[in-house]
Amino acid sequence: MLYVVLFFLLFSLLLYVLLGGADFGAGIVELFSSRENRKVTRDTIYRVMGPVWEANHIWLIILLVILWVGFPGYFNVMMIYLHIPLVLVLLGITIRGVAFVFRHYDAVLDSSQIWYNRLFRVGSLVTPVFLGMSFASLISGKIIITNDYSNYGFYDLFMEPWLHLFGLLIGLFYAALCAFLAANYLIAETEGDARKLYRKKSIMYTVVLVVLGFALIVYGYFADFIFIEDFIHNPVSLISVGISGLLLIPLWRSIKRGSRIWSRYLAGLQGVLIMFAAIIAHFPYIIITSEEELSLLENLAPEATIDNLALMLLIGGFVILPGLFHLMKSFNLIKVLDKSKP
């Protein structure tokens, strides 16, 4: 049953990172667009993301619940030492979530739209950056686990683990991944000029992503981050990243050819591979503190809890996933119908 729980942990992590990520990315694409293009992006986002954005973000809650129920020791460390970056993540989630809804449901169209737009875009950029920084602090080797809080300064315990260049690079890398996903996703949803626009964006974000990825590895290597060293020496991680890189060729081709489905799935697959590489690089030692490496598998809840959790997840998975699938499918169908109207 442990494997069922692990499966759902990774599954919801991946889905949050990809679906929630594409959602953040859409805001980032909008942020870095020229004035005229913003409107197109805005309307497309509403059409595409509107019905599913809530569902996308519930993956985060599922992830959190699995962590606290199944892996209480891990959850404990994260909640104590990542308090500050997580509050910043929450701030971002709050701001962009409500701004997204306010801008579409405000009964009056006036200058307040400017504010909703600003908050939505900036929130979309900041949230993934802080998410990346939170992840980075887990693997940074800078967390000091102690019971004797008076021996350390506030900065050492609660700031140092997340506030560093390595963390920022990971944050930016994740934000770029989000934008990359969103641009490729949007290609499939648009026509004509807008389509060309996202094609350009997709290429641009690919370049940003690759550059940041390199910078991250080079900096991490020379700054002696254990994680990066192990990443480089882990064949599975390297192969995943390699395949992800090679997939750029068919991705570009399919973008050129204008194949909607392929460009979306290829981009998604690349995202999966990159995430997979990052997780597997040090699995199951995902928390690296200043002293030791904590194994995910050794900080488990009691067996009865794990079994119960697995059962709930299985039941949930069979009710929810089909529903979600159906939702996406039927709204795709509807969009096609919409477009065929004059």
């Binding site: 509107g50 019905p51 809530e54 569902a55 519930i58 979530g97 809804v101 306010f102 119960n308 529903g323």
Partner: protein, 432 residues
């Protein structure tokens, strides 16, 4: 004040904020579905307009509920890491089920919001029902988790360790049923009267009277019926508390001396230092009867508990009085509505509408007061008789700043949502 106090304030404030949006998210779908049903049946366009107007409002409330709920899921861990470390594996089951309920709700809401003219009519309407049912289910589940904190079960506590964990028994803890029943009714009372009050205000001002009267009627029926059931369910809750948390019961009633045939105090000022209550109305034997169904039963007083296990008595007592007092008023308001069904000319009387305008916030005030009773009354325990709140709090200093941060953020958010609702209402009245 210390770190701990700020953490508690933050928890109270953010939960108190979330619960308002959660209640609206639970109850409004039912109002919409009724109005939507009337539209399908009568094809009176006013009902369609009303449904869509409510829908717009609900989308805004939902988003706010979702983000504040997400923040709460983190907060439980960030503020109370020691609590979650031990409690998480035990009372996690309602939360994992709740995840499923959220998904169903979000999916159904997606259909309902975006499905106009795109889905078959009946199916579209039915997705609205699913939204409501899933909302109520998730409410019941979280409250069951809270019930576990009041009536911990499903584990053995041996030498500071939590052994033999049984998540199902923890879910079905002795408090879950009475609390969930009372809370669900409360959500209908609070939302019913609030929505009815908002529409009563528009009628009072003579704006778009036909539509607002229809809206008022839908909302008030739910609110009034629930208001009649609420004291019954509250009585069940009280008997339950008497059994499982006698200290809390004594604090609710500011009952210091253990005695047989204990009197019920109405009102009264608590003097915590001298352990006395002055300026009260006494009803002999009533407390014994309410708590145990027997006028002569012995009710344990606060003096019989160790000092370091007492909650802040005045807060609990006043909050309880407030809840019960408002509950009685709301029941009367509900009665007045039912009488008005026979006396149609009341609807022309401005005082009638004024009454419901005044009643608008009372349900939510009673609801928040009720939570203060439950939560403050549990102090100093975070898990009743197992873990103290002070042992659960985060070691990170500076919770003061965190509290003010949330206070600031949610105050702005609350003001914005109110302002948006006002705009919706104006736009709706203009379209007339």
């Amino acid at each position: 004040m210390e770190n701990l106090d700020y953490a508690r304030l933050q928890m109270a404030f953010t939960l108190g904020f979330h619960i308002i949006f959660a209640c609206i998210g639970m109850v409004m779908p039912f109002f919409m579905v009724v109005s939507h049903h009337k539209w399908l049946k009568t094809r009176n366009p006013i009902y369609l307009k009303l449904t869509k107007a409510w829908l717009k409002g609900v989308a805004i409330f939902f988003a706010t509920g979702a983000v504040s709920g997400t923040a709460l899921s983190f907060e439980l861990g960030m503020l109370w890491p020691e609590f979650m470390k031990h409690a998480g594996p035990i009372f996690g089951m309602p939360f994992s089920l709740e995840g499923a309920a959220f998904f169903v709700e979000a999916i159904a809401l997606g259909f309902y919001l975006y499905g106009w003219k795109k889905l078959p009519e009946k199916f579209h309407w039915f997705t609205g029902i699913i939204v409501g049912v899933a909302g109520v289910a998730s409410g019941i589940l979280v409250v069951s988790a809270n019930g576990w904190m009041n009536a911990p079960s499903g584990f053995d506590y041996v030498n500071g360790e939590f052994l033999n964990i049984d998540p199902v028994e923890a879910l079905l803890n002795p408090a879950w049923f009475t609390q969930a029943l009372h809370m669900t009714l409360a959500a209908f009372v609070a939302t019913g009267f609030a929505v009815a009050g908002v529409h009563a205000l528009q009628i009072f001002r003579g704006k778009n009277v036909e539509l607002h009267t229809k809206a008022f009627k839908i909302a008030i029926v739910f609110g009034a019926v629930a208001a009649f059931l609420q004291p019954l369910s509250g009585d069940l809750s009280a008997k339950d508390v008497a059994e499982r948390q006698p200290v809390k019961l004594a604090a609710m009633e500011a009952h210091y001396e253990t005695q047989k045939g204990a009197p019920l105090y109405i009102g009264g000022i608590v003097d915590e230092e001298n352990r006395e209550v002055s300026h009260k109305i006494e009803i002999p034997g009533a407390l014994s009867f309410l708590a145990f169904g027997d006028f002569d039963a012995e009710v344990k007083g606060l003096n019989d508990f160790p000092d370091d296990e007492l909650p802040p008595v005045p807060i609990v007592h006043y909050a309880f009085q407030l809840m019960v007092g408002l509950g009685t008023l709301l029941m009367l308001a509900g009665l007045i509505y039912f009488i008005s069904l026979k006396k149609k000319n009341w609807l022309k009387n401005r005082k009638f509408w004024l009454l419901f305008i005044i009643a608008a916030p009372l349900g939510f005030i009673a609801l928040e007061a009720g939570w203060v009773v439950t939560e403050v009354g549990r102090q100093p325990w975070i898990i009743h008789q197992v873990m103290r709140t002070e042992d659960a709090v985060t070691p990170m200093p500076g919770m003061k700043y965190s509290f003010f941060f949330y206070l600031f953020l949610y105050t702005i958010l609350g003001i914005t949502v109110t302002w948006l609702m006002n705009r919706q209402m104006k736009a709706l009245n203009k379209e007339e």
